[in-house]
């Protein structure tokens, strides 16, 4: 049984924001991540503010500029199954379909997926680690086979989301409402590296709620994919994941976004790969060069060096598949 908390389910966004004004008040969307954290006493909660009574945060629709608006409360299963997403933003549908298990996809929301807490077993366990206000990241010299190889400095979590890589590759923007009104933040600016602030994962301020995720229009030349490698086919988080969003024209890559999951504390843009493939045809030498370049900055810990060849192999295979459809 978890700790005691009070519970409120407001009927308006404004009320939800003001309810979040009290100490240790936390947002409950699907609860799939939050309730696990509370059960393991990873952080305290005095009040849960459920946003499930806000239907305006649900649903998927076209925007006036032909992009897509996805309400933050839309379930992962709805994202995975939606015809517009499967057709025009395939990598997002594939990423959503690769999350957890069918039951968790029916319950977990897209907003919750982007805001979920790290899965590092020291963070989730009884360790007073750096991220929880302690002095030490236990992964540095500990069991670090699932930790990051890029972007870690003082803390070595990987970002657990399977939807964020595709959303970042598509250039998603988040709409956020809080005590001081509404604002937009690009997904690229949403997640926070530990070197900037080790105690937070996102730029959300107290009382702020992600209300919707906006995607720019997808060009007809866009091809996208997400591939996830994991130890078993259900439940598991990504050991390594690769999202590609490429615009192809006459056999050449006109624009590209390449994002890795399981690599870094935030969804990680592989800019080295983008630089090499953009403007080129996807020939084997280019693919090989790009796959190698992706890992030049990687700094593995004691037990996660296997991720380097894994990412290189996945990138090469995924780019090769893109060449074949182009």
């Amino acid at each position: 049984m978890t700790v005691h908390f009070s519970y409120v389910r407001p009927a308006s966004l404004q009320d939800a924001v003001s309810q979040l004004g009290s100490d240790n008040a936390l947002i409950h969307a699907g609860g799939t991540d939050l309730l696990g954290c509370l059960r393991d006493e990873v952080f305290p909660a005095e009040k849960l503010v459920s946003i499930s009574g806000l239907p305006e945060l649900r649903g998927i629709s076209k925007t006036t500029d032909n992009g897509l608006r996805i309400g933050a409360l839309t379930t992962i299963a709805e994202v995975a199954a939606h015809p517009l997403i499967r057709e025009s933003y395939a990598a997002l549908a594939q990423g959503a379909a690769a999350v957890a298990s069918p039951q968790l996809r029916n319950q977990g929301t897209l907003g919750g997926n982007l805001c979920q807490k790290p899965r590092c077993w020291y963070y989730r366990g009884e360790f007073h680690c750096l991220r929880k206000g302690g002095n030490y990241c236990y992964a540095v010299n500990g069991e670090n086979q699932y930790h990051c190889i890029l972007g870690g400095k003082n803390c070595f979590i990987v970002h657990p989301s399977d939807t964020a890589p595709a959303l970042l590759a598509f250039g998603a923007v988040l709409r956020i409402t809080g005590p001081r009104g509404s604002r937009s933040v690009t997904l690229a600016d949403f997640h926070v590296l530990p070197e900037r602030d080790v105690t937070r994962e996102t730029v959300l301020e107290a009382g702020e709620i992600v209300t919707e995720i906006l995607l720019p229009p997808a060009s007809a030349a866009m091809r996208s994919s997400y591939r996830k490698v994991r130890a078993r086919q259900a439940w598991d988080f990504a050991l390594a994941g690769v999202a590609l969003a490429l615009e192809l024209e006459g056999g050449r890559v006109r624009r590209s976004r390449v994002v890795l999951s399981g690599a870094a504390p935030i969804p990680w843009r592989a800019v080295e790969v983008e630089k090499i493939i953009t403007g080129s045809a996807l020939e084997s030498e280019v693919i090989h060069e790009a796959a190698v370049a992706a890992m030049t900055k990687a700094r593995p810990l004691g037990k996660n060096g296997y991720k380097i060849p894994l990412f290189q192999g996945m990138l090469a295979e995924e780019l090769e598949k893109m060449r074949q459809v182009s």
């Binding site: 908390f5 696990g36 009040k47 039951q103």
Partner: protein, 213 residues
């Protein structure tokens, strides 16, 4: 629970086996009884919004389980799994990992399979909850249950109720699934005995039986 015994005459929930007044009192405590008597919050709950419910105090909610409505006293932190089993005596949903990693607790919420261990009971208000018990056709087994028996789709049987609920959820959305869809549908239900080949057969058989009824 028997509402008459609590002095609550809602006329909705008649009786659930295995739950006594004494069990009720020990599980929610006397302070909670006072909360029941003074609670005027139900109308807000019915409109979908809920005023703040204090920690450590039980609150009144109405849950619709297997087409029957139950007025219950729950603490905000109680999972749906706990309430189904301990308050309603519906033990079809099993306690496994209690962290969303095994599927033993699977129930349908608005026809979709979900983990009752990671769903707060207060969050299930206003939704249609179906448990294993709700799949019975009177005294007879329902088609999915019958198919699991016919195909011998269990060994120790602990995961079976959850597997059945996942297959039921699949068939409600896709009455004629193929093997791959069945495998996918039960991928969130861990069977440590490895009965999956028979579970997939049972899924196919269940579709046939359901089509006949």
């Amino acid at each position: 629970m028997n509402n008459e015994e609590n002095g609550e005459k809602t006329g909705q929930c008649r009786c659930v086996h295995g739950f006594t007044r004494r069990g009720f009192l020990t599980s929610v405590g006397v302070g909670a009884m006072a909360a029941l008597a003074t609670s005027g919050r139900l109308s807000a709950a019915q409109e979908g919004a809920v005023a703040e419910r204090a920690a450590e105090k039980a609150v009144v909610i109405t849950l619709t389980v297997n087409d029957r409505s139950h007025r219950l006293l729950v603490e905000p932190r109680w999972s749906l799994l706990y309430v189904l089993r301990e308050q309603l005596g519906l033990t079809g949903a099993k306690v496994g990992c209690e962290r969303g990693e095994c599927g033993a607790c699977t129930v349908l919420i608005d026809d979709l399979p979900r983990y009752a261990c990671l769903t707060l009971a207060v969050e299930a208000e206003g939704r249609r909850i179906t448990t294993l018990e709700g799949l019975m056709a009177g005294e007879e087994l329902g088609p999915v249950q019958q198919a699991f028996v016919e195909e011998d789709a269990m060994q120790c049987g602990y995961c079976t109720p959850g597997q059945i609920m996942s297959v039921e959820g699949l068939l409600r959305a896709r009455p004629q699934p193929d093997q791959a869809e069945i495998r996918q549908a039960v991928s969130g239900n861990l069977c440590r005995c490895g009965a999956y080949p028979h579970i997939v057969k049972a899924g196919l058989r269940a579709a046939e039986l359901k089509a006949k009824r």
